[in-house]
Symmetry: C2
Subunit: 352 residues, 2 copies
C-alpha cells in the first residue's frame, strides 16, 4: 500500500481556491444586470441549478456548459484521448439529465496550442460514443489555436436540451421529508478533482502504467475511465409524479444536493462504501473524509429523489434503463444541508 505522501491534502492546497472562484464569479454576475425583452425569449429563473432555462415560442430550452478540466493533462500523460472526448459529452449531458431535459445538440470548443490530427481523431471517437449514450448530435464547434494561452488541450462544450410535450423541469422544489434518495453508481472519478488527483500522483511518484494496490489494470487508465452518462436514467423517471429531483454529483461532491432544496436535510446514511480507487486516493494524500466527499463523487455519480411510494417499481424502471446497480442511499429529513452520519460528515451549503 502506498504511504501517504503528505498529510491533509485539500483541493485548495492543490491550487484551486474555491472561495476566490466564488468571489470572482459574484463580481462578474453582479456586473451583468441586463435582461432582454420577452421578444428575445422568456427566462425561467432557477438560480444555482445545473442548466439555464429559456422559453422560446412554445418550447422550453435548457442550456448548460462545462469543460473536462485538467483531466486532459492525465489524458496527455497516459496518451489516451477517447475517454476525455466522451467526458466532454458526459459533463454536459449529465447537467441536462439533472434537470430532466432531453439532450438534443452539443457544440464543442477545443482550445489548444497546436492541434494534432491523431488526438482529434481519438477525441472524435470518444465524442461519438458519448453522443450515442446521450442521444445528442454534434452540430458545431470551435477549434481555437491559442499557443500562448493553452498548454496541451482545453476541452469544453455546451449542450442544448428541451422538455418533451407534457414534461416539466425537474427542480427539486417539491422535495419533502420522507422522500427517498436513490444513488446511481459512477464509473470512477469522472471528470472532477483532477487538479488534486494529479498533484497526488506526482507527489507519490505513482507509475501510471501499473495497477494501484488492489486495482486491476494500469491506474492511469482506471483514473481516465470516461464518465458514466445518465441520460437514460433521467429519461426513465423525468415527468413521473413520484420523481422529485435529480442531481449530478460533479465538482463539489455531495454538496451538489444542497442546490436542490435549501430547507431539507439530505441524510445519506446508506451511501455505499466507495470503491478502492477513492480509498487509495484518500490514503495517497492523507485526505480527510470531509474533503473527499466535497471533491469527488465517492462512487455515486447521479442521485434521484423520489416519493417513497412504488420505490421497488422505480428501481425496476432504473434497471430497465440501464441502471440495475441503483440503490437507496439515504432519505430526506427535516433540517438543512447534507449529512453522512455513519462517517460523521455534515455540510451546510453548496460552496465550501
Amino acid at each position: 500500500m502506498a504511504e501517504p505522501v503528505r498529510d491533509g491534502w485539500t483541493y485548495a492546497k492543490a491550487g484551486v481556491d474555491r472561495a476566490l472562484v466564488g468571489r470572482s464569479l459574484e463580481r462578474l454576475l453582479g456586473a451583468v444586470t441586463y435582461r432582454p425583452p420577452p421578444s428575445h425569449g422568456r427566462l425561467l429563473d432557477l438560480p444555482g441549478h445545473y442548466a439555464g432555462l429559456v422559453r422560446i415560442g412554445r418550447e422550453t430550452i435548457a442550456v448548460t456548459t462545462d469543460t473536462v478540466g485538467t483531466k486532459t493533462l492525465l489524458a496527455e500523460q497516459v496518451g489516451s484521448w477517447e475517454e476525455v472526448g466522451e467526458d466532454l459529452v458526459a459533463v454536459n449531458a449529465n447537467d441536462l439529465a439533472a434537470i430532466g431535459a432531453r439532450p438534443s445538440v452539443l457544440v464543442d470548443c477545443i482550445s489548444s496550442s497546436q492541434p494534432s490530427p491523431e488526438v482529434f481523431d481519438a477525441i472524435g471517437r470518444g465524442l461519438d460514443r458519448g453522443l450515442r449514450a446521450a442521444g445528442m448530435a454534434l452540430i458545431g464547434g470551435e477549434t481555437a489555436v491559442v499557443p500562448e494561452v493553452v498548454r496541451g488541450y482545453d476541452l469544453g462544450g455546451t449542450a442544448v436540451g428541451f422538455f418533451p410535450r407534457g414534461r416539466r423541469p425537474v427542480t427539486g422544489s417539491g422535495i419533502t421529508p420522507g422522500d427517498v434518495v436513490i444513488g446511481v453508481p459512477s464509473s470512477g472519478v469522472h471528470a472532477n478533482g483532477f487538479t488534486l488527483v494529479r498533484r497526488l500522483l506526482s507527489a507519490g511518484a505513482i507509475d501510471l502504467g501499473r495497477p494501484r494496490p488492489g486495482g486491476n489494470g494500469a491506474v492511469g487508465l482506471e483514473l481516465l475511465r470516461a464518465s458514466r452518462i445518465y441520460t437514460n436514467v433521467s429519461e426513465a423517471l423525468a415527468g413521473r409524479p413520484e420523481t422529485q429531483a435529480f442531481a449530478h454529483i460533479s465538482g463539489g461532491g455531495v454538496r451538489n444536493l444542497v442546490r436542490l432544496h435549501p430547507k431539507v436535510a439530505f441524510v445519506l446514511d446508506r451511501w455505499p462504501k466507495p470503491s478502492g480507487l477513492f480509498a487509495w486516493l484518500g490514503e495517497l494524500g492523507g485526505i480527510e473524509a470531509q474533503e473527499l466527499y466535497q471533491t469527488f463523487n465517492m462512487g455515486i455519480g447521479f442521485v434521484v429523489v423520489s416519493r417513497p411510494v412504488h420505490i421497488a417499481q422505480t428501481l425496476r424502471r432504473l434497471a430497465r434503463a440501464g441502471a440495475p446497480d441503483a440503490t437507496i442511499v439515504g432519505r430526506i429529513e427535516r433540517g438543512r444541508g447534507v449529512r453522512l452520519p455513519h462517517l460523521g460528515l455534515a455540510y451546510e451549503g453548496y460552496a465550501a
Copy 2:
C-alpha cells in the same frame, strides 16, 4: 512611420497552421457518425455555416460557439478587460446575426489559471454591454480553474438564437449574379488575428501606451477596441424578400463569403480603403495584401447580400438600425470565389 520589422509575415509563421487545424478537424468530424433519432430534435443541415440549426418542437434553434482567442493576452498586457468581455458576446452574437437568428441566451466559459475578482468584474461589465447590444441574456456559465492548462484567461461562450414566427434562416442559397454586396464597417480588428498582431507588436517593440503613427490614443487600446455587434443590422433585414445572405467577417477575412455560396463570384471592387490601423499592421509585418485580407476584417465586419431592387431603401433601413455607415462594397457575378480586382486579389475557397 515604423519600419517593417520582418518581411512577409503570415498567420502560419505566427504559429497558426491553418492546414493542420483543417486536417485535425476533419479527423474529429469523420469520427462522429452518430445521428440521434428525431425524438431528440431534427437537424437542419447547413454545412459550413456560422451556426448549427435544430428543429425542436415548433421552433428552429440556432447554436454557435466561439472564443475571444489570444486577444485576452493583449487585454492582460494593456490591463483592460471590458473589451474582451464585450467581444465574447460579439463573436457569438455576430455568428447568429449571420444566419438571421434572433439572439436569446448566452453561456460563458472562462478558463483561467487563477481567477481575479477585478478581472471578472471588468469582464462582467463588458459582457453586460455586449448583451445589451445583442438583446441577449446570460443564463449560465462555467468558471474552470485549470492552472496547468491555461495561462491567463481563455474566454469562450455559446449563444442560442431562434427564428421569430414567419422568419426563415438566411443562408445565401438564393444568391444570384446581379445581387449587391453591402458592407457594414467594423470597429477595428475585432477578435481575430491576434496571434499575428501580438507577434508584430513584439517584433516591432511597439509601445502599447503610445499612439501609432497617424493614430489617436494608445495603440494598445485601439487594437483592443470591442467588436461591433451586428444584431440590429440582421434584425432589420432578415426575413425581407430582397435579403439573400449575411456574412460575419471574422477569422478567414473575406474568404468567409465563399461559405455563403460556392458557385458565384463575390466581386468586391468597391471595398473601402481600410483605416490606418490595418495599413500600419501590414507595414509593420511586411504582410502581403493577400494575407491581410484573409486574416483581418480589413474595415468591414459584416456583409449583406441583397437583390439590387430598393437598394436605397435597404441602406436607409440600415441607417435606422444603427448602421448609417453601411455602403455598397461589391456585387455578385458569374464565377467562383472572392475577388478584389482593384487590389489584384483572388481567393478560391474558404480555407487557405
